[in-house]
Symmetry: C2
Subunit: 196 residues, 2 copies
């Protein structure tokens, strides 16, 4: 039941945003009585903190699953960018975006969001390095991976206003070319895929 | 007085976010009576639409002024990126971010935000091409300018959660190197600045 309430909070954030999400709406959506909700989460703050953790966990799990589903021998740059682009336009990204922006002007929420954001960011970075076979010991490699994730985050934000998939595809095509020129790869990547 | 109300709306969005901004707060902040506010903006929707236009105008004006203040002979890649990065972390960016995210789940607001966002996006793109002396007739040039603006938008979003200026500076340093390698420039740029 706890899990159902957290999932309902995520869906409410996706559909109604932070300002449209109330504990009443969450209990309705979860099909859980007000009493049962108060048993699991005595205050709204309790529910919010647990939902922030839930959303961070779903983000990490979804990305890890997508990464595992992409076979190692098919991990070409453009496919990895596609996977990341899909992750940063998925429902859970929209829910996280609502939390980020609400946290900007809500210190209590920021205290819950910020540490988990750091963990999620590190994990996303690590998975991206692995998927792209990046040699992070080389100067500039780390920053180029960070830039890639900032770019993908910016595309995700733009997609909430106008979902221009053709534009996004062209930007990612071009970015894949740039990474193939500029990103130092680990030895086995260069051998297997002939990327310089 | 109209202008004062619009400026107060922008400041309320920056400080309290979309969910914390009310017409009452705006009139208090502007030092304008409720009656005078209703004279200029009979409904909340009237104020919101005018505020969306005001924020888009301020964004375009601030960027154009910053671009004009950067002398042509100092328009090196890294300095242009610094200028864009500052623009996308300024107060007016935070106000625009509040509108974007609220518009995601509010069709009426989206109808006001989306067309102005397109105009602002085109103008930002045009100014960036001009500042970087990009030869947009060359394949891939347009997409790399778009990628640059998506990156800067992603950095702006990240800065609302943790203002890690050292990280942002390193990412922009690396991005400037990439652009100097990959971005086709107009002839006079190559002659004046020796960029390939």
């Amino acid at each position: 039941m706890r899990q159902r309430l957290l999932e309902a909070t995520l869906q409410c954030l996706v559909e109604h945003g932070w300002s449209g999400t109330s504990t009443t709406l969450v209990s309705q959506r979860a099909g859980v009585s007000r009493g049962a909700q108060l048993h699991h989460f005595p205050t709204k703050a309790d529910l919010v903190v647990a939902a922030v953790e839930h959303i961070a966990t779903v983000r990490r799990e979804e990305l890890a699953q997508a990464a595992a589903a992409l076979p190692r021998d098919q991990r070409r740059t453009r496919e990895v960018l596609e996977l990341l682009g899909e992750h940063f336009t998925a429902d859970v990204f929209a829910a996280a975006l609502e939390l980020w922006v609400a946290a900007r002007t809500d210190p209590q929420l920021l205290a819950a969001v910020e540490p988990l954001e750091r963990v999620t960011g590190r994990e996303t970075h690590r998975l991206t390095v692995e998927m792209l076979d990046v040699d992070e010991s080389r100067p500039g490699a780390r920053e180029l991976v960070q830039a890639t994730l900032d770019l993908i985050r910016g595309l995700g934000l733009a997609s909430t206003i106008s979902d221009d998939q053709a534009r996004r595809a062209r930007v990612l095509d071009r970015w894949a070319e740039v990474l193939d020129h500029e990103l130092p790869r680990r030895e086995h990547h260069r051998q297997e895929r002939g990327t310089r």
